[in-house]
């Protein structure tokens, strides 16, 4: 009897063991998978940007690793910084050479002395409200993006520190008047900047500014604004918006709380817009001050010479003569 009981219990133990063993082993496996993450699994989670709990109140401190495309760093140093240098100094060199070869656009009949009303005092004010900060922003922005590669190697440590600090302060402050100027100009001047069919013809002969070859002596039609000015206006409107929006993210991080990756994207968009606006600004300044005789007067007094108006903006001049809005300076 005793012997029989022993045998039975051995059999029972074997059966129980065979039935339940796989279950308990499977349970062990499950425990290993979920409860004890390996270093590899932890690393994968951290690299994917996992956030967690921390007692620190530091910015972004609840995320151990923020992963982003590291190529943005090379994009800035190898491409955008030299491009902004080229947009400023390269364009100046190109324009100086161009004017040496081509000469400027003179008024055919000389100055008439009769000044035609073109811009209101308010228009002139908002132009300079945007323009002066814009120039300062270009110079300080160039220092911030490209200074360490192109200026720092040639100047002393203390001077560099003062220069880059000054550039940052001026850049931050000038952003505000620039944005006000940009918004007013874009909103108030857009109606005169809509593209027309004759703008294509203007583009075909490069505005008649080229004094040699098949382009020589051409005088394409232009309304209040010519096709080149319209192109500049819309580039300024679009990239001015991009540069203002991205700049606001960078200037007021406490207000908008952008992520780090978004801030880096804003930095890239800001630089790209700056390169385009800078290149256009150089062209715009050269056209107004040197290239087009009598052009600068428009943004000084708001009046232009009658001969300048009929030579460069014939359709506009004909229109104001016809509808009686032509106003001479007293």
């Amino acid at each position: 009897m005793n012997n029989l009981f022993k045998r039975f219990s051995v059999i029972l133990a074997l059966v129980v063991a065979t039935v339940f063993a796989p279950v308990s082993m499977a349970h062990d496996d499950a425990t290993d998978h979920t409860h004890a993450a390996t270093e590899g699994q932890i690393w994968a989670q951290l690299k994917a940007g996992a956030t967690g709990e921390t007692t620190s109140h530091g910015q972004f401190h609840n995320q151990p690793i923020n992963t982003y495309d590291l190529r943005v760093l090379e994009l800035r140093s190898d491409l955008l910084a030299p491009a902004l240098m080229a947009a400023l100094f390269g364009m100046i060199i190109i324009f100086v050479v161009f004017i040496k070869i081509n000469g400027i656009s003179k008024l055919h009949g000389g100055f008439s002395g009769k000044m035609v009303y073109r811009w209101s005092k308010f228009d002139v004010s908002i132009h300079w409200l945007g323009a002066i900060p814009c120039l300062l922003l270009i110079l300080t922005g160039l220092t911030l993006l490209a200074g360490r590669f192109f200026f720092q190697p040639y100047i002393g440590e203390g001077f560099w520190a003062a220069l880059v600090y000054g550039a940052k302060q001026v850049h931050d402050i000038m952003a505000i008047p620039f944005m006000i100027g940009w918004a007013l100009m874009t909103l108030l001047w857009a109606k005169n900047q809509l593209p027309k069919m004759y703008d294509l013809k203007w583009m075909m002969v490069v505005g008649g500014y080229i004094n040699f070859g098949p382009f020589k002596g051409k005088h394409p039609d232009a309304g209040f604004a010519n096709a080149g000015e319209k192109l500049w206006f819309w580039a300024f409107a679009v990239f001015g918006l991009v540069i203002s929006a991205s700049g606001m993210l960078l200037l007021f991080p406490n207000l908008f709380e952008p992520s780090r990756t978004l801030s880096l994207i804003a930095l890239i968009l800001h630089s790209v817009s700056a390169i385009i606006i800078t290149a256009f600004s150089i062209v715009h300044i050269f056209m107004a001050t040197v290239m087009s005789e009598g052009g600068m007067e428009c943004m000084v007094s708001g009046y232009c010479d009658e001969n300048w108006a009929s030579q460069h903006h014939n359709l506009w001049f004909d229109e104001i003569k016809e509808n009686g809005t032509l106003k001479y300076k007293d």
């Binding site: 993450a37 951290l46 967690g52 530091g58 800035r76």
Partner: protein, 189 residues
């Protein structure tokens, strides 16, 4: 020379924040209110797979902060550390955007909470000022490396989860631990 690195063993870190306290205490002279150079982050807190890791500047070899800085205020030491010059720093915040580890931190100063000079872990190696000078103490905190000592955070880590030192030594210690512990469901690590 050595290439100094930190390594945090997540199997050993018990989220005691001893490293944080050690760092704050050691570098107190340079730390403005609210600035913390090191922190412990716990992922999956209270859930399966919970792990804590102590994070500060990792002293990258090809440091993103150094690449993005407009003022070029970062420099590498001969020990492979990434340090910065607070006199050149302009407080733009680009290094914080570029740093994968959130190491650069800024005291809030001036109008609209604009950023002051950046502060981050120095591996207890001070800064560009003369070793153990007042200027160094006030701007960068401790300089233990000049005394032949390692950073306070790692030295005071109770479980030796946080290791600091030459990369080869640190990684051989960690490799030995991993081999000893074994890992059922992983080929390595």
């Amino acid at each position: 020379m050595a290439t100094m690195k930190f390594l945090c063993d997540t199997k050993r870190c018990i989220e005691c924040n001893g490293c944080v306290t050690a760092c704050k205490n050691e570098n107190d002279s340079a730390l403005e209110w609210g600035i913390q150079r090191r922190r412990v982050v716990t992922i999956n807190d209270g859930q399966p797979g919970e792990a804590s890791i102590s994070v500060a500047c990792m002293h990258c070899t090809d440091a993103p902060c150094e690449a993005v800085c407009p003022a070029n205020c970062f420099y590498k030491t001969e020990d492979g550390l990434t340090l910065h010059n607070k006199d050149t720093c302009i407080g733009c915040g680009y290094c914080l955007y570029a740093c994968p580890f959130g190491a650069p931190q800024f005291p809030k100063q001036g109008a609209f909470g604009s950023r002051g000079k950046m502060d981050k872990c120095t591996f207890c190696a001070g800064g560009p000022e003369e070793n153990h000078s007042d200027a160094e103490r006030q701007k960068y905190g401790a300089n233990r490396l000049a005394e032949g000592k390692l950073p306070m955070c790692a030295e005071l880590c109770a479980t030796k989860a946080l290791l600091a030192g030459d990369a080869e030594v640190v990684s051989s210690i960690f490799r030995e631990r991993v081999a000893y512990r074994g890992s059922k469901n992983a080929i390595w690590g």
